[in-house]
């Protein structure tokens, strides 16, 4: 191997001597030499045992790859490889020697894992000089998953630098579980980075895996590794760094970094930051938009200290704060009122109150259905979404001044916010949905549909009283494996749908083996298809699973947080940890348990665990499980829970 490297060195030194090579044969030779140069540093990683909670389909037990980074047995790889928390990790070197490996530390921001094996004299990867990495140069992704003797390679170019909020370089060489953890190398066999699945929009070990082999792949660049390695070697778990500030607009065309929320006891709070402060620079780098700020923060870890420059009114302040990995769970403040769902003239500002929850601050302050909120804290309020956002800037126990029009009189109310209760009240009076005056122009009633493209089929029920001038809730029924329960679901839920203004859809699994992670996008596609045809209230989109389908329902709800607002788990515990409470993406979980059910204790336990995380959750008991699958009393309670998801 040393000889080969020497040969390569000579080729490199001679500059362009094989530059006269003009055909694919020369390219082939160069690729093979580059792979041969890195070959001794690429290892195979296999895992034994592990939890069954990651589903059956995505993880598998196949081998993955890793990179030797120090002669004395340090190996860097992708966290993806340890998805299932394996009980034992085996590393096979290029010379086919096998070693048991210990996990030294994880980098939860860049999704890396550092392993140690009891071996010395290993050949570490040679880093490429970072200042010479350019978009457009050759990039070869290397893994050791097929053949122990030869690494597997895919070829592309460097597509971009500083991707995924400054954490990764991008390549069009095919990346997949076959080479995650392996090196991305240049044409000389020097390491550009470690291949990892990443996604700019999501977090989690599997985020980005759906882009495998797509021409969009990521590698954590070697420069970043140099900073992280000493901390990883010391056994420190590296986590993304948080300030504890909420910003108005998260989108790609976002404006200035103006704080709309400062979380209590967060680093930002402790540094004295206030709502409406605007961040204008971080560590001396100017920030004009939220996206720029995320780009700068994305590179940093918890415990890193940053210097902020802040604009507060006419003043410019400087603050130093230490990023944290954890914030106190967010507590949603609540008024306890239900906004009207009529789609009104956008020019007409204000929020009409559809209902007031019993025992709520709104009721105590004397607000009544039919009242019209015109102003919050002296500022005009546009619509329900605006009101919700404005309320979220406050904390429980804060008092909110509201200007309300009742008939022709305008008066001021002061409402003291409380933490939003998760359980629905026993009863809420609601205004029934009036029959539409005009016949609907869209399909109503029961229908069988098929998604164009991949063709997942589903049934839907749109109540006969559908009218497009009111926002409708959406209930997605994910049937348990092998039992669609279609007629039962339709019989019991159709009246609820008419009364509460809900559209019901039931995706069907493509085969008898049930739901798999690969179906996530199709179900999301069905939700999108319904939303494009009907007026759907974004605050009331709910997934409902039962027994075997609850795991898939939870995965879907936690994956598409920007869409799903409620999750109903019938007769099953929650089997994956819920994400952090995020005021921008509210989600509530309702459990249905029964004393007759074998998993009653687990359901109760996970309910309590979720509650402890301050996650909005509620449990309803079903007396018997040998009767109808959807008992009327349980459905009535769930309907009420569903109906107040849009409460403010």
């Amino acid at each position: 191997m040393r000889l080969l490297r020497l040969a390569l060195l000579i080729t490199c030194l001679s500059g362009g001597s094989n530059a006269s090579a003009q055909n694919p044969a020369a390219l082939q030779q160069a690729l093979q030499q580059a792979v041969a140069a890195v070959d001794p540093s690429v290892v195979r990683i296999e895992t034994v045992g592990g939890a069954d909670l990651v589903g059956e389909t995505l993880t598998g037990t196949g081998p993955t790859s890793g990179c030797v980074i120090r002669e004395d047995g340090l190996i860097l790889t992708s966290r993806f490889n340890f998805l299932s928390n394996p009980s034992s990790v085996i590393v096979t070197l290029a010379d086919e020697r096998k070693f048991p490996a210990e996990i030294v530390a994880n980098d939860e921001s860049r999704m890396l894992t550092l392993l140690k094996i009891p071996a010395t004299g290993l050949v570490p990867v040679q880093p490429a000089a970072p200042e010479q990495v350019r978009v457009g140069q050759w990039a070869i992704a290397v893994g050791r998953t097929f053949d122990l003797k030869f690494p597997n390679a895919t070829v592309g170019i460097v597509s971009a630098l500083n991707r995924v909020w400054g954490r990764a370089l991008q390549t069009d060489a095919k990346t997949s579980p076959l080479n995650y953890g392996g090196p991305l190398i240049d044409i000389h066999g020097k390491c550009l980075g470690i291949l990892v699945p990443l996604s700019p929009d999501e977090r989690g070990t599997t985020a980005g895996v759906e882009w495998y082999d797509s021409g969009i792949g990521f590698a954590v660049p070697v420069t970043d590794l140099e900073q992280a390695l000493p901390r990883l070697i010391a056994g420190e778990t590296l986590k993304p760094g948080l300030m504890g500030i909420g910003f108005e607009d998260q989108g790609p065309v976002s404006g200035e970094a103006k704080a709309i929320r400062v979380r209590p006891k967060s680093p930002a709070d402790e540094a004295g930051m206030k709502v409406d402060d605007v961040i204008i620079s971080i560590n001396g780098q100017p920030v004009t938009r939220v996206a720029e700020m995320k780009q700068l923060l994305g590179k940093l870890y918890a415990k890193d200290v940053i210097q902020l420059k802040i604009q507060r009114g006419a003043e410019t302040l400087e603050r130093s704060l230490t990023l944290t990995d954890r914030l106190l769970a967010y507590v949603t403040p609540s008024l306890g009122l239900l906004p009207d769902r009529t789609i009104s003239d956008p020019a007409r500002n204000g929020v009409l109150i559809r209902g007031v929850l019993p025992g709520s601050p709104a009721e105590e302050a004397g607000l009544k259905p039919g009242d019209f909120i015109e102003r919050v804290a002296a500022d005009g309020v546009a619509d329900a979404a605006d009101l919700r956002k404005r309320v979220q800037r406050f904390q429980p126990e804060d008092t909110l001044p509201l200007t309300v029009r009742r008939k022709d009189a305008v008066s001021d109310f002061a409402v003291t916010l409380v933490p939003r209760p998760s359980a629905p009240p026993d009863q809420v009076s609601f205004i029934p949905i009036l029959q539409p005056e005009k016949p609907a122009t869209v399909k109503i009633g029961r229908a069988n549909e098929k998604l164009p493209g991949d063709g997942m089929s589903y049934w839907s029920f749109v109540p006969e009283n559908y009218r497009p001038d009111v926002k409708w809730g959406l209930l997605v029924w994910l049937h348990p494996t092998g039992d669609p329960l279609e007629s039962e679901a339709l019989r019991v839920w159709s009246q609820v749908c008419r009364d509460r203004g809900i559209i019901l859809v039931g995706p069907r699994t493509p085969d008898v083996s049930g739901w798999a992670p690969g179906h996530e996008e199709s179900v999301k596609g069905i939700i999108d298809a319904v939303r494009s045809t009907y007026e759907i209230d974004p605050a009331r989109i709910v997934l409902m699973g039962r027994e075997s389908s609850t795991l898939f329902a939870s995965q879907l709800a936690f994956k598409y947080r920007d869409t799903v607002r409620g999750l109903i788990l019938q007769l099953a515990p929650l089997r994956i940890r819920p994400p952090e409470v995020d005021p921008d993406f509210p989600l509530e979980i309702a459990f249905v348990s029964s004393p007759q059910h074998a998993q009653q204790r687990q359901i109760q336990r996970t309910f309590e665990a979720v509650e402890k995380l301050n996650f909005p959750t509620w449990l309803v008991e079903q007396e018997a499980i040998d009767g109808p699958p959807f008992p009327d009393d349980v459905v009535a309670r769930l309907a009420l829970w569903f109906d107040i998801l849009d409460r403010i």
């Binding site: 090579a21 694919p24 390219l27 045992g49 993880t59 598998g60 081998p63 085996i90 053949d147 597997n152």
Partner: protein, 357 residues
């Protein structure tokens, strides 16, 4: 000047950053030259290969099964090789050549183990691949893939060309459970996304147009569930194809095959003196609970809490996996186990009993 992109990057990296702007300008210029040079070479061989690849249309249409596919000519009088599929279930398969000529093909032979079928159309003087002059490739070889993927080509349109490299050469293993890999044996794994509907039966060639392999189906890897892009080396199929063309191919006798396959002997861990922990979860690791006194396991020094990680070179990912391996052991053979004890890997070799006790 005729330069490939490769040495450019090399010369670029030896330059300093200060002159990078100059370098980039140069690079652009050179890339254009070299890109056109490469395009020329590929363009020269493509029509020749395309004229030997045919578009197939046949049965199917149910349950997302494609009604179209690809194949290639292996004789001047119209023998066409493709994969063995539902497409061929109709009496006659429509074969469309690259110039738009339309024929009806009859299946003259199949081999399910090689996942192969040969069709015959009535033609003469057709362009074809000479099976006596094919190529082989190692990892890193740039390759071209030709097929009517997604039936983009219709009528007199030639099939689509994609480029990529051979990522690895490996053995395909059969997947337990939901999907079956139709072919077991050596394959090329490709770094291009070649295996999509309609691609199976197309060809993989070198950059100078020599036949390397036949494009496989859409399958998922049995290990990590990702879609695999593979092609079966033509060398492994040549004999079968020639036998079918010459009319001397015999289907393997399914009965004879059953008797030659090593019968599952049903050995269990206890037969070697090992008692494993109870199988409680989906992936219980194969830990030893007890070692039976005076057994082979004790003589070989195995101890409770040893974790079995490899059996005959195969990774033991769970108890169930180990069960599968043991059940298939031929009597009288060796069973090599690698166990993990604390932070050490220990290798032991058992003798499989002549018969099940």
């Amino acid at each position: 000047m005729n330069l490939s992109p490769l040495p450019l990057t090399k010369s670029l990296s030896t330059m300093t950053c200060r002159i990078s702007r100059v370098a980039v300008t140069m690079l652009l210029g050179l890339l254009l030259t070299s890109a056109s040079a490469q395009a020329e070479e590929v363009a020269d061989i493509v029509p020749g290969v395309q004229s030997r690849v045919v578009k197939l249309f046949g049965a199917g249409g149910l349950k997302n099964l494609a009604t179209y596919g690809s194949g290639f000519l292996v004789s001047a009088d119209g023998h066409i090789v493709t994969v063995w599929s539902h497409l061929l279930d109709s009496d006659a398969v429509t074969v469309v050549l690259d110039d738009g000529r339309r024929f009806y093909g009859k299946v003259i032979g199949t081999d399910s183990q090689k996942d192969l079928a040969v069709l015959k159309i009535d033609g003469t003087n057709l362009p074809y691949f000479d099976l006596a002059h094919t190529a082989t490739a190692g990892p890193g070889t740039p390759v071209l893939a030709f097929s009517n993927v997604f039936k983009v080509a219709v009528g007199d349109e030639p099939v689509s060309v994609m480029h990529g490299i051979v990522s690895a050469r490996t053995e395909l293993s059969a997947r337990r459970g939901r999907y079956q890999v139709p072919y077991r044996g050596s394959v090329y794994v490709l770094d291009a996304v070649t295996n999509n509907p309609g691609a199976a039966g197309g060809v993989l060639t070198t950059y100078d147009g020599r036949l390397l392999a036949i494009l496989g189906r859409e399958v998922r890897s049995d290990q990590n569930h990702i879609w695999l892009n593979y092609a079966v080396p033509i060398g492994d199929l040549r004999q079968t194809i020639e036998d079918i063309v010459a009319g001397r191919h015999r289907r393997p006798d399914p009965l004879a095959e059953m008797t030659t396959r090593p019968a599952g002997t049903g050995f269990q861990a206890i037969d070697f003196g090992m008692v494993l922990v109870p199988d409680v979860v989906f992936r219980t690791p194969a830990y030893l609970e007890t070692v039976i006194p005076d057994s082979q396991a004790e003589q070989l020094g195995l101890k409770p809490d040893d974790l079995i990680v490899f059996a005959n070179g195969e990774l033991v990912s769970s108890l169930r996996h180990l069960d599968d391996v043991l059940r298939q052991l031929p009597p009288g053979d060796d069973l090599q186990l690698v166990v993990r004890r604390d932070n050490e890997l220990i290798s032991v070799t058992f003798r499989v009993p002549r018969q099940k006790p």
